[in-house]
Amino acid sequence: MTITDTTPILGRPALATPPRRSRKPVVHVFFGDLAATSLTVATGFLLLSMIPAINWAVFDANWTTGDPATCREGGACWAFIAAKFRFIIFGVYPPDQQWRPLVVMGLIITMVLASLSPRLWGRKLAYGWVAAIAAMLTLMWGGVLGMALVPTSSWGGLPVTLLLALLSLGLGFPFAVFLALGRRSKLPVPRLLSILTIELVRGLPLVGLLFVASILLPLLLPAGWTIDKLGRTLAALTVFAAAYLAEVIRGGLQGLPPGQVEAAKALGIPGWKTVWHIVLPQALQKVIPPLTNTAIVMVKNTSLVLIVGVFDMLSASRVAATDPLWPAPYVESYVFVAAIYFVICFGISNYARWLESRVQARTYR
């Protein structure tokens, strides 16, 4: 549109509505040409081949059972999940104290819902999170206010998965910001330290880091010192998350037009204020999609703690499936756990999409 175009908007030829496409018959859509035909046939075969799986999972499935031994005959044994639901969700946490992890999960959901809208982001919410996390850990641990002490070795299931994901991302994020800023710093020491940290951690597989944290770290500590196993695992996850988040954030920093910082300098805004109020908000906003990606990856990475003996949801479901009274319903347990992971990750990804559109709308207003 140029300035000389003075036609009133309403009078203009209908630009807003795209030209109507002539409707092709349905047959044409599916069998129009060779590509469409072969795609239709292939999809048809795929759908047909899924019938046994759907039958297994839904129509032939046993939802309740009187006799566990025959439960898997015919179809999936969802009765197993019903029977083991408590164990898969809460793991080895003492059943009489079960309300505590339940409240923790409630807290997590409440806080996450409360943090959804960017309008509420601010100092108060940050304090709220700190208080909520302190409350969650107190609830899980107990030992105060008449709650029995539950050592971290008895924590388990979904609360552990959620806490590990939340804390590793939450604690990793500030580190990541420093690492990203450090890597772009003109001072050699912070820059080299940041590069070293990021490249070292990114060069190691998470499994390796977890082994270092769970096996080597206690051996290297001075005699008589022990750090809680869950704490060490969390530390490994945090470092890992920080390195990956740092690279994502660095991408945002690099995408920022240099004019922004130059303008701030010209206005005499002090360096840290420039970073805090001008650089970071814009940089982070640019990298919402890759941040989401890292968050989703970290949620799923928490399942790797299985190999260092932390009883997360996946470990709990594997143990549940070894119960000799039930006929090894591994597939059912894995499908169930996968479904929970999917719900969490799909939620994150949908939220991020919504956030992206919202944040953009705010910028261009």
């Binding site: 029977a83 083991k84 408590r86 164990f87 809460f90 793991g91 080895v92 946490y93 003492p94 059943p95 050592p151 070795s153 008895s154 388990g156 082994f211 769970s214 096996i215 080597l216 206690p218 051996l219 290297l220 500590l221 001075p222 005699a223 008589g224 022990t226 196993k229 299985l306 190999i307 260092v308 003996g309 932390v310 009883f311 470990s315 594997r318 143990v319 549940a320 070894t322 119960d323 000799p324 009274l325 039930w326 006929p327 090894a328 591994y330």
Partner: protein, 338 residues
């Protein structure tokens, strides 16, 4: 394998230097108020949480026996789930007090920073075949096909046995446990080979007719699965040893969870000493004189423990076999309680 051994040796060397705090374990356990045991991540029959999160199994109960000896309460235990690689470092660094976790007593482990107590289970590599085949021992297996998992030590055993006895066994190799087992039950091979207790659990959980299969040893070699403690604390080792011995002795004397209170009034001086009616034994170990009584009262004797967790009272239905008392032809040897 060599680099693994080297890594292990290096780890253990570091461990040995880092391990100067050989304070009396029993004092720190008492001060803490509970025992910390290494547990597996779920090995049915040996150590696994039930659906209420309560740890059960032969290894778990061995640990509970030590807790009874120290505290008189089988529930004053915290179980720390450990992976196979973690278990020994966790013991060396003091993260746990005792490691009963299907750990085989070997020279390398014994020499490198841990001490083994008394074996609580003897394990062998076994074959499982259909009962209908009529085969009951290795020598009869000529020409049989064997489902085996690739890269496992059992793959070596199949070849050893086959060439030593000239059996011409045909290994059918699969790359994971589930596939191996499934292949066996679908009739892909005549026999399945792995640890006997694992075979028993497979038979219990994955076959439609557990009685239709028999399990027998593949070799004459036996592994002694033995709870371990840190090097350098003899008093603690004694306590663990005699807690396990209390279980074995109780079975030898015929003392069970049900009849232990009647046995207290027994006239037999050995039983009197064992149950602490005549004092001395407990005190010598720094424990309550009635520690053996308490163990039997709360957990039963070794035979009861075996049956409940892995034997005929459990879904695993493992034969007592080598785990019988010495007097019944097994390897479990009760030492003199005096």
């Amino acid at each position: 394998m060599n680099w693994k051994t080297a890594t292990l040796a290096a780890t253990l060397a570091v461990a040995a230097t880092a391990q100067a705090h050989a304070g009396p374990t029993v004092d720190s356990v008492k001060a803490r108020g509970h025992l910390i045991c290494g547990a597996s991540q779920g090995t049915v029959g040996f150590g696994a949480p039930d659906e209420k999160g309560y740890w059960r199994g032969l290894d778990v109960e061995t640990c509970r026996a030590v807790a009874v000896a120290v505290f008189g309460d089988k529930d004053k235990v915290e179980f720390v789930p450990l992976s196979g690689q973690q278990r020994i470092p966790a013991l060396q660094t003091g993260e746990i007090d005792i490691l009963p976790r299907t750990l085989t007593w070997t020279l390398q482990r014994d020499a490198n920073g841990i001490n083994f107590a008394t074996p609580n289970y003897y394990e062998f590599t076994g074959f499982m075949v259909a009962r209908s085949s009529g085969v009951t021992k290795v020598e009869e297996m000529t020409g049989a096909s064997v489902c085996v998992q690739t890269g496992s030590t059992t793959e070596v055993v199949v070849n050893d046995v086959s060439s030593r006895l000239n059996l011409q066994l045909k290994p059918v190799v699969f790359d994971n446990v589930a596939a191996t087992r499934q292949a066996f039950f679908s009739g892909r091979c005549d026999a399945l080979i792995t640890d006997a207790s694992a075979l028993a659990s497979v038979r219990a959980t994955q076959s439609k007719d557990p009685d239709g299969y028999v399990i027998f040893p593949a070799t004459k070699y036996m592994d002694a699965l033995t709870p371990a403690v840190r090097h350098g604390d003899d008093q603690w080792l004694d306590i663990v040893n005699w807690s396990i011995q209390a279980l074995l002795n109780a079975e030898m004397y015929g003392i069970t969870q049900a009849n232990v209170d009647e046995m207290v009034v027994s006239g037999d001086p050995r039983i009197k000493r064992f149950l602490g009616v005549e004092p001395g034994n407990g005190k010598a170990l720094g424990l309550d004189d009635k520690f053996a009584y308490n163990i039997v009262k709360q957990l039963g004797n070794y035979g009861e423990m075996f049956d409940r967790n892995v034997g005929k009272g459990s879904p695993l239905k493992i034969d007592r076999g080598p785990n019988k008392l010495f007097s019944d032809g097994g390897l479990m040897f009760p030492l003199a309680f005096q």
